[in-house]
Symmetry: C2
Subunit: 303 residues, 2 copies
Amino acid sequence: MSAPAAERVVVDQPSGAPARVPTPEPGDPRLARLSLNQRTTAEWSLAEAVAGCVAAGLPALGVWREPVAEVGLEAAVRLVRDAGLRVSSLCRGGFFTGPAATARTAHDENLRALDEAAALGAPVLVLVPGGLPPGDRDLPGARARAAEAVAALVPEALARGVRLGIEPMHPIYAADRGVVSTLAQALDLAEQHPAEAVGVVVDTFHLWWEPDVLAQVARAGERIASYQVADWITPLPPDALLSRGMPGDGHVDLGAFTAAVAAAGYTGDVEVEVFNADVWAAPGAEVVATLARRHVELVAPHL
Amino acid sequence: MSAPAAERVVVDQPSGAPARVPTPEPGDPRLARLSLNQRTTAEWSLAEAVAGCVAAGLPALGVWREPVAEVGLEAAVRLVRDAGLRVSSLCRGGFFTGPAATARTAHDENLRALDEAAALGAPVLVLVPGGLPPGDRDLPGARARAAEAVAALVPEALARGVRLGIEPMHPIYAADRGVVSTLAQALDLAEQHPAEAVGVVVDTFHLWWEPDVLAQVARAGERIASYQVADWITPLPPDALLSRGMPGDGHVDLGAFTAAVAAAGYTGDVEVEVFNADVWAAPGAEVVATLARRHVELVAPHL
């Protein structure tokens, strides 16, 4: 026999610890800038993610291309629009550090991603630069290819009114996913182009360790195209790709980070993006409730 | 029945792939600066590591404090001296980012480590700064404590003729092991002190991803107190602490790195330090033979 509802303890996911603050209700003004990145509830289809946001009172969704492809772009646009949600970002373009022969294919794929972002009304296409080709040890070369590929996309982004968001990634991914490793490096790259064409993605999981990162956030200013929140937890989960923690469960000073992002002038949505097998195994609605609680406790007061 | 020796294929460890070059014989001048870091053959006692170096013709050993403690300092000094080996470094001091109340204990432990390094004739004590105390999110604070602790050790190091080697560690360890994350950051710290007192440890595994790292190696110059070699392999092994690869098995451009270290004026030993469960499971002599082959193939030509 289950306990009566009044006695049921609300727990955070995936920790299982009792919630520290009440779950904010839909309409709570502290939720006004909170966005669910789809990969946080990876088991949910696009329709389920849209419904989950609406039920929890989240006004925005960070959309991934794969679940869009599952339903088709037009249906995806309709789903999001009919629910009254903003699309805070489209994830993801990039992956343009392959061998030279693959550059054209990667460029064309990014054009399709830009088209999708424009159709969805996403202000930014998140660019994951890509890693080293198999057997390749030329990291500076891969970084140069990434810079060239971004430059080639600039006119296309301007034409579509979608910003390119270069995402510096934690050095744990430098070999196989993202050769741009620091916010300083991403800004060096972005600043070669107009700010309305190329910005940067500030993700606390990727950047929390960077020396003087808050000074780089200040430098970024209007270049901040997206602010994504996840924590760094220890011990690090065994799969490096699923090693993010729920905000508040790890070592990131979310208050200081968020205050710096706000001081830099960022007024966009705050996406919670947590790739983590334990989070994925938890019921989606409980995950969304947890991140809403963590948002009002740890992030919203600093916005 | 095993195959006759003449037909036996020599394989590399832990890959199991056929060796690409003949194993260098003891006395080969290309081995003149090769050192085995004890953690590469973690199953070996100090006596076994000494014997393994002698058998393979390696002139130097990177010694760890724990196996020294097992036999006692005097016996350890005798073991190494009688074998005619150099001690290329003592691992490790540091771990001084704990709560303020632990600073004195950490300092005293580092004094003992400096004494041991002096007795062993090690030119450098490798300093692993330490991570964040449990529940702590103040990374800048931990970095400041590390800087203070290094400063407090400077006169002690000078008095003993042992150099402090600050080891910048891959950001994967910033939370729980090493809050100094880049060579640039380590140099900012080291340059506050005389070069004979404070140097840096250049470890390819920790630093390969750092933007413009070779420019930082050039900046380091005489500050390079130790050069350690290991590779970054993908997929990353599940235990983050055992995720290093045998030199040549991963994504690090060892030739470029080594050439930069040599151009910076470094004339010391090259330590191979590979924490990896598969390496530890392989026979120690085969591991040493593999790293000797990789050294003459990939590192020695650039020294």
